[in-house]
Symmetry: C2
Subunit: 435 residues, 2 copies
């Protein structure tokens, strides 16, 4: 007997044939999908009626800084350097408890908007992991490693990064995995990056970094190393299929070819890139080169949302506007970026990203009986162009129901809101006091 | 005694000083605002507790084609001409009842996402007006006038446009106003446009048109008249403060100066423009020239949403990305575009667009107690960058409560969804049958 049966929904499998069942069911047992089909007649402990709902793989947010949810809306509409210079002094005051609470709030927002797995890079990651464990989400977490010409800082952050991998990889029944998180090629020396690369190899984990986010970054790298970012990273043998690379905006054709050849996994962050005016990533070009580009929200401080549905619409529209081509990035492809490509990016394509027998049961149900989702002609179009996170009705991760009819079962929503407001107020008061 | 008292909310007045009351109330009597302030102690028939909520002027969608909500998601990800060639045969089959139902669905979506007033251009407008009257919204409606080198079509649509103005202007206690709706300079001859201009003068109403949406349009006009669209329209004396001009994308500096000088009211439609890959309007440049640019969603067939909150985020981010300047269009300015500038665009700045004594009571309340709106540091930032239409809790138009705690009081939501789905299915079946 199945543990959970999601019954009679409009099932978007995202399997290799991209099968869509206008009426189908998904059976779950021991955290895994045991059946997907039209005539799944199993009995189950919990039967969830999915009529009038779309059933799809949980969305995967492949790049964020979850604890920064605590800083949502603190700084907007500023040039990037001014923005950073305002954020950094606040970040300096962040405590482990702040990062835990920020992550908890982020988890709550992700559950309520249909994200079941995310990749994060920040600090106090043991505390972030604790929040993820409580929330019931799946995550690939990394401790940010940053050098900034300070060997001591490099050593501290590498040590903490290694400790985090040793402590937390495989936590929470395997829901929590880890990576190493070297910040970027302009903040980490080649020596630092290669140390990290070796460590990642030693522990068989990935590497989460930022590449070519701004023109200034490209200029810096060229000035220092005589090469563009991707070329530089390739020349020191840093690149490989285990590298998760946020942004990837300022790429030449040759750099796209390197990314493809080395199997690097770029993450597109359209909202953050637009908001910070960093540029537009060559997403259609990368996809055309066979690169499985995934999608991320970046941190809520530069978005200011973790809603992957909104992110999908921005992604689809930004490439169209940028290329002056209305077919530059179709809805179907964007949904792939937010599901199966996210799984590939995190090296989890055998476990998540589609609704297939044997995969982990990470499933989202979207309630389509809403004025802004009517009439229903084309489900994929509605998911990408009309739906918002608030339309998600039910969320299952690792076979466990985290939200049902918008009620979150793992976290106390009111308490999280109260505690994070207090923590945020205290944090900003500390900044004021330090002035 | 007031009819309605909205009590103790975070009030964003959008008055000339842009006052924000962290705790304030709004009293309503006879459809108008009779008090706004910290110590409004009036008794009222209905008291709405606004604690934890933001109270702001109802959003104004300054350009849409409401009945096209029936076609949401029917055609996406196509080149513009192919898109039009797919939409047109479907539109040919639209009945008065289809347009009524499409408009009803659009009204429902607008109420549920905090839009209280909109400007529309389409056909079967008497039926659209009926839907607006039932829904309780405010609207400025126009019958599309189109010529396409067909004098008969010109005469029919002008006649219908005039009949519509005569019949419907001032309907529903003045909630429904009208304009003339010549489609565009590339689909209407100068003779047609000037006939319309005279009629608009005769009836003292505005003119709702499309200007410079695509490069192809500009090329066509240059080829035909030897001038760019705005120059052409200026040379025939068509332009003036009563002209509501959707899109205004392909403008030269000189054309922006003409728009400013003639008092033309441009409407920015970022989502539709991105989705159809038409280009990016020079919004910061127009605002810098003192032009009160407003905001619209365009029709749901090319958006695919009527959510003005989402539209605000797209507007703020698109200009930043386009100009590679993170301060190109700040949140505060975008909120002005969606409220007071919308009122100015429709010639209703004395009646709506801000919460001030003597203005019509068109008010929206947003529930801020949501994970994606937490923590609360900056209300304006949250409204533009984090909120979605679904966060709207209560909507008041003309002093009447249309929605309370997300329950729509004027329309039967379930019935509208059922009837529009059926109408849409029938419509597409008629297209299939005609093939």
């Amino acid at each position: 007997m199945a543990d959970v049966l999601v019954k009679d929904g409009h099932v978007i499998t995202m399997d290799s044939q991209r099968r869509i069942l206008e009426r189908g069911s998904v059976a779950i047992e021991g955290g895994k999908i045991t059946a997907v089909g039209k005539d799944v007649e199993e009995r189950a402990d919990t039967v969830i009626d999915a009529r009038g709902k779309v059933v799809l793989p949980g969305l995967i947010n492949a790049h964020t800084h979850l604890s920064m949810t605590l800083l949502r809306g603190v700084v907007d509409d500023m040039p990037l350097m001014e923005w950073l210079e305002t954020i950094w002094p606040i970040e300096k005051n962040l405590t482990a408890q702040d990062c835990y609470l920020g992550a908890l709030l982020g988890c709550l927002e992700m559950i309520k908007s249909g994200t079941t797995c995310f990749a994060d890079q920040y600090f106090f990651m043991e505390d972030v992991a604790r929040a993820v464990e409580e929330a019931g989400l799946r995550a690939v977490l990394s401790r940010g490693i940053i050098e900034l010409d300070d060997p001591k800082r490099r050593e501290t952050t590498i040590t903490e990064g290694e400790r985090f991998v040793k402590t937390c990889h495989g936590m929470a029944n395997g829901r929590i995995l880890t990576m190493f998180g070297p910040h970027a090629a302009y903040t980490c020396s080649p020596e630092c990056l290669m140390r990290v690369k070796e460590l990642a190899k030693k522990y068989t984990v990935g590497v989460h970094t930022h590449i070519a986010e701004t023109q200034e970054e490209v200029d810096k790298i060229i000035k220092k190393y005589g090469k563009r970012p991707v070329e530089h990273l390739d020349s020191i043998n840093f690149l490989g299929p285990e590298v998760l690379a946020a942004h990837c905006i300022w790429l030449t054709e040759r750099e796209i070819a390197v990314i493809q050849k080395q199997g690097v996994k770029p993450v597109h962050n359209p909202v953050s890139n637009m908001k910070t005016a960093s540029g537009v990533a060559p997403v259609p070009e990368m996809l055309a080169a066979g690169i499985p580009v995934s999608l991320g929200t970046d941190g809520a401080a530069s978005n200011n949302s973790l809603d992957m549905f909104s992110e999908m619409k921005f992604a689809a529209l930004l490439s169209k506007a940028h290329k002056l081509d209305p077919i530059a990035l179709p809805a179907q492809v964007v949904l792939e970026m937010a599901t199966i490509n996210g799984a590939i990016a995190l090296g989890l394509q055998d476990k998540i990203g589609s609704l297939e027998v044997g995969k982990k049961a990470d499933i989202v149900m979207v309630d389509m009986k809403k004025p802004h989702l009517a009439p229903l002609h084309n489900v994929i179009s509605h998911l990408v162009y009309s739906a918002v996170g608030g339309d998600v009705d039910t969320v299952v991760v690792d076979g466990k129901v985290l939200m049902r009819e918008r009620g979150v079962l793992t976290l106390d929503e009111v308490k999280v809101l109260e505690e994070t407001q207090k923590a945020a107020d205290d944090l900003l008061a500390r900044r004021e006091a330090a002035k």
